[in-house]
């Protein structure tokens, strides 16, 4: 197993733009990232997904981000939001096409404590995928194929860059061995963490430290499924067979890199969406455009968002996700 780079105090904060942009490390990382997005478009396009441009602002955005503040925009006297994620638009877009994706910028004013997780950025990008009629099994298969295809492309085309970064292609042997990624339920993940001595709440998202611990136990990416209701946004579909349990998943990178991607089957029934909105403490009134669509009917679907900077961090073997951004913005740090 390739070890993650040792934390280095000099990596705590991004350097000034000139030093960052002209650094051989940054250049190698951004080339690798470029190959990841090329591979994503190649893979998703071949699978019949239509790429759309993501909306940047809207009257409402994804409320599901853990403790992160949204950015308000004055839109002709109305309070609009910068997208924290385009989840609502992804579901709506299925009215046009059955399979869509964005490579979408997102802004989240994350809590200050996340500046030290090595993987939170206030501005980041997601490869946002949504597929009408898909089950969780189908959409995780797509996520798995996408990750594998991108890793394969990077390994095939970016050997010099990986060498510059000291990242051995052997780190990806388990990813490229044609075996399916592992799967564990949230319940089992909590049990594993308790066995590792980590006090993980069974009702909550796997915390960052816990995720890192689990991640470090694995050599190939793996899915955690069935998060409890109360740990995710209202749009993740609740199991009919097991109420309180969501038909969702996270994809966790190995070697301690942690979460790459979150996804789920979606709620699409109007009454269930309104009820779930209330369960997350939100005011349904502000979701009017979305709820009007839902009342008239939106397709059942499943989808995911794969964090581009986090995925790049894993592939390039970086200490921090900010190294995978040309203009990194760490939570709470004033930067260009």
């Amino acid at each position: 197993m390739t070890q993650m780079h040792t934390p280095d105090a000099t990596l705590a904060l991004p350097p000034a733009p000139r030093a960052h942009l002209t650094s051989p490390v940054t250049r190698a990382v951004l080339r690798i990232q470029n190959q990841i997005t090329v591979a994503a478009r190649e893979f998703l396009g071949a699978a019949g997904f239509v790429e759309l441009f993501p909306p940047i602002i809207g009257p409402v955005t994804d409320p599901g981000a853990r403790g992160a503040k949204q950015v308000d925009v004055d839109y002709y006297g109305h309070k609009y939001k910068l997208m924290t994620s385009a989840i609502l638009y992804k579901q709506a877009s299925l009215l046009a096409f059955d399979k869509i994706f964005y490579i979408a910028p997102n802004v989240r004013l994350e809590p200050l404590e996340t500046s030290s997780t090595s993987r939170h950025l206030a501005e980041f990008h997601q490869i946002d995928v949504e597929m009408a009629g898909a089950s969780r099994a189908q959409i995780t298969h797509i996520a798995e194929g996408l990750v594998t295809h991108a890793v394969r492309r990077v390994v095939a085309t970016m050997s010099d860059e990986l060498a510059t970064l000291g990242r051995s292609p052997r780190a990806f042997a388990a990813v490229l061995d044609e075996q399916p990624f592992g799967r564990m339920t949230h319940y089992d993940a909590v049990l594993d963490l308790h066995e590792l001595g980590h006090p993980q709440s069974p009702d909550a998202e796997i915390d960052w430290a816990g995720e890192r611990l689990l991640s470090a136990q694995h050599t190939r990416p793996f899915f955690i499924t069935d998060y409890p209701k109360g740990s995710r946004g209202f749009y993740d579909r609740e199991s009919r067979r097991h109420p309180g349990c969501l038909r969702n998943f996270d994809l966790i990178a190995p070697e301690g890199y942690g979460e790459l991607c979150s996804g789920s089957e979606r709620e699409y029934d109007y009454a269930r969406i309104v009820t779930r909105i209330r369960e997350t403490g939100e005011n349904p009134a502000k979701y009017r455009w979305y709820l009007e669509l839902a009342r008239e009917g939106i397709p059942a679907s499943a989808g995911f968002g794969l964090g581009v900077e986090r995925f790049t961090r894993y592939v390039a073997g970086l200490h921090s996700a900010w190294q995978a951004s040309a203009y990194p913005k760490l939570p709470g740090v004033v930067s260009p």
Partner: protein, 441 residues
């Protein structure tokens, strides 16, 4: 003073305490030696009170095993000052079993008075709740507060100013700030703001930030918050609130209403879980209205992981409410506490609290701590810098006097045996040592 009045409240007595502090717990010292003192009536206190808590009496026993324990501990006879009032309140440590209730966006609590109260609560180290609708109505420091100026809506009263005033004065390890969020506040993401703002870092890092989910309130159970605003303000907030110009408030002013929010047991449970998930470093409080199913509401909240449940009796409230609600809607605090029964977690009680006797009775009826609402505002109105502090000094002295009289030395030791309610007389219990087999035949 601002001309603030609270006609349904013992305002004069609170103002006296705000001026005199602990001395107000006794008759005027100048009268000593010249006046005969005694209870005003031979029975219930105060005479004829319809309030079940006020009508009840605290009843010290003859035999005091807990006083013996204290005596052994101290090696001398205990006195009232040996009562340790320190109390764990919703995940915080407080020097008194007292916290400051939310005042909401009601006009009297905004501006300098709100900040003065925050400063004093901080200095005293008692937890303080900052009310709902503060951000959408009064702005938030980072976006529209003192730096931007000129918005004409009392930038001093904004959330961050209150947070800052509290944090700057709070002693290490004591107290905490509780930020309330209502359905409309969710649009302004009050909790996300507080959780991600550098101004809250000190409190967050020391475990002294909590978020309160407001499920209801005492003055108008079943309704949301209400304030009277100018036509211009109404236009500015019309997208978020119901604005009603038909109620004849006069002077071109209109009624601004929050929605009360819809709750089922599952909605309450999941909202609390989501709060714990999203804000793992903050404590979670839940405020319930004096509803008929309050026992179930409190049980769900504790089971979902709430650090505190606040019960606001129908006699509570600082703000605007329909007159029909004030005297006719909601359970009185005593009945709320009875329906909750033995608390499965930290239970906080508010409603007409200002003096020691009512506070001690509420503690004996199951509350962990009591909340000051109107009393705190009146005290600060009497003397912005020292009024609330003096009120607290007087309250602390009364708590010590009363609790020690019951033969107990901490608020947590109080329970139902310490209280007697007229018409609910318990059968006289024999001292345990006197019970015999024969006695029961």
């Amino acid at each position: 003073m601002t001309g603030l009045h609270a006609p349904a409240f013992p305002e004069d007595a609170v103002r006296e305490r705000a001026r005199l502090g602990a001395a107000a717990a006794f008759p005027p010292a100048a009268d000593y030696g010249h006046t005969l003192f005694g209870a005003s009536t031979g029975g219930a206190s105060p005479a004829g009170s319809a309030d079940l808590i006020d009508a009840a009496r605290l009843v010290p026993p003859v035999f005091m095993p807990q006083r013996l324990e204290k005596l052994i501990d101290l090696g001398r006879e205990p006195v009232y000052s040996d009562v340790d009032l320190h109390t764990a309140i919703g995940g915080f440590r407080s020097p008194l079993p007292v916290f400051l209730c939310a005042f909401g966006s009601t006009q009297v609590a905004s501006g300098d008075l709100g900040v003065a109260v925050s400063r004093t609560a901080g200095r005293a180290g008692i937890p303080m709740v900052i009310g709902e609708n503060v951000v959408p109505m009064n702005g938030y420091g980072r976006a529209g507060g003192r730096d931007s100026g000129g918005d004409g809506r009392g930038a001093d009263g904004v959330l961050l100013d209150r947070l800052r005033a509290y944090a700057e004065h709070a002693p290490d390890g004591l107290g905490g700030v509780v930020v309330q969020q209502s359905t409309e506040d969710a649009d302004a993401e009050v909790w996300n703001l507080a959780y991600s703002d550098p101004a809250a870092t000190t409190l967050l890092d020391s475990g002294r930030l909590a978020f309160e989910l407001k499920v209801g309130q005492g003055a108008k159970p079943g309704l949301g918050g209400m304030t009277v605003v100018s036509g211009a303000t109404a236009a500015a907030v019309a997208e978020q609130y119901t604005v009603d110009g038909s109620v004849g408030c006069g002077s071109g002013r209109v009624l601004r209403c929050s929605s009360p929010g819809t709750f089922t047991d599952e909605i309450l449970r999941q909202q609390i879980r989501l709060m714990r998930n999203n804000f793992p470093r903050a404590r979670i409080w839940v405020k319930l209205a004096p509803a008929r199913d309050i026992g179930g509401g409190a049980a769900v909240a504790w089971a979902a992981g709430a650090d505190a449940v606040t019960v606001d009796g129908a006699e509570g409230g600082t703000g605007w409410a329909p007159t029909g609600f004030l005297d006719h809607v909601g359970l009185p605090l005593a009945e709320c506490l009875r329906r909750i029964g033995p608390a499965a977690g930290c239970l906080l009680a508010s409603g007409q609290m200002w003096a020691g006797p009512r506070a001690v009775k509420a503690l004996a009826m199951g509350a962990t701590a009591i909340g000051l609402g109107r009393a705190a505002l009146i005290a600060a109105d009497e003397d912005a810098e020292h009024g609330l502090y003096r009120l607290l000094e007087c309250l602390a002295l009364e708590l010590q006097l009363l609790i020690s009289a019951l033969g107990k030395y901490s608020p947590a030791a109080l329970n139902g045996e310490d209280i007697w309610s007229p018409g609910h007389a318990e059968p006289a219990a024999e001292p345990k040592g006197a019970q015999t087999h024969e006695h029961h035949r």
